[in-house]
Amino acid sequence: MSEGNNNSKKKILVVEDEKYLRELYVEMLEEEGYLVDSKENGEDGYVAIKKGGYDLVLLDVMLPGMDGLEILKKIKDSPPEKPNKNIVLLTNLSVDLSISKGIALGIQGYLIKSDLTPGEFVEKVRKYLK
């Protein structure tokens, strides 16, 4: 763990289909002391988000089955049992229509995966959890 703080109380959900990135994000966030769940497709991601209770949900836009925007629409129509504090979209394109659609559907922000090194990714996550 790189910081001796209260990260262990923060719960994060990573919904990402790219196996390597998902495992990397989970490993790095766990090393930071966060409690991390991960899902590899839209359906499983939706079930976890619908259950709720996360301090941060990192939601990939492009997912097999149900994509990130579809999940956001369903969550907006039928809110989670326990609210999720922050939902942040993960995308690869900085000019992506999904971002503006996501904002309209209530996301708190977005991360451009292709712009970030692992260290920068963790830094951004910390800011969303402050």
Partner: protein, 55 residues
């Protein structure tokens, strides 16, 4: 020569994986020569990312 059709989201996803791998290896590499080679690979990968983004 023929064009290769790729989905830019998917292609950027793969390049992001390479970027992350290289970044992690670079962070730990102490050997100066190997570090230079890795930096070259990371720089070229970044050029590809920038190229796809502006395509």
């Amino acid at each position: 020569m023929s064009d290769i059709l790729v989905d830019n989201h998917d292609f950027l996803g793969k390049l992001s994986v390479i970027k992350n791998c290289l970044s992690l290896v670079l962070e730990k590499e102490k050997d100066h020569h190997k570090k230079e080679l890795l930096e070259m690979a990371a720089g070229t990968n970044q050029q590809l990312i920038d190229h796809v983004k502006t395509a």
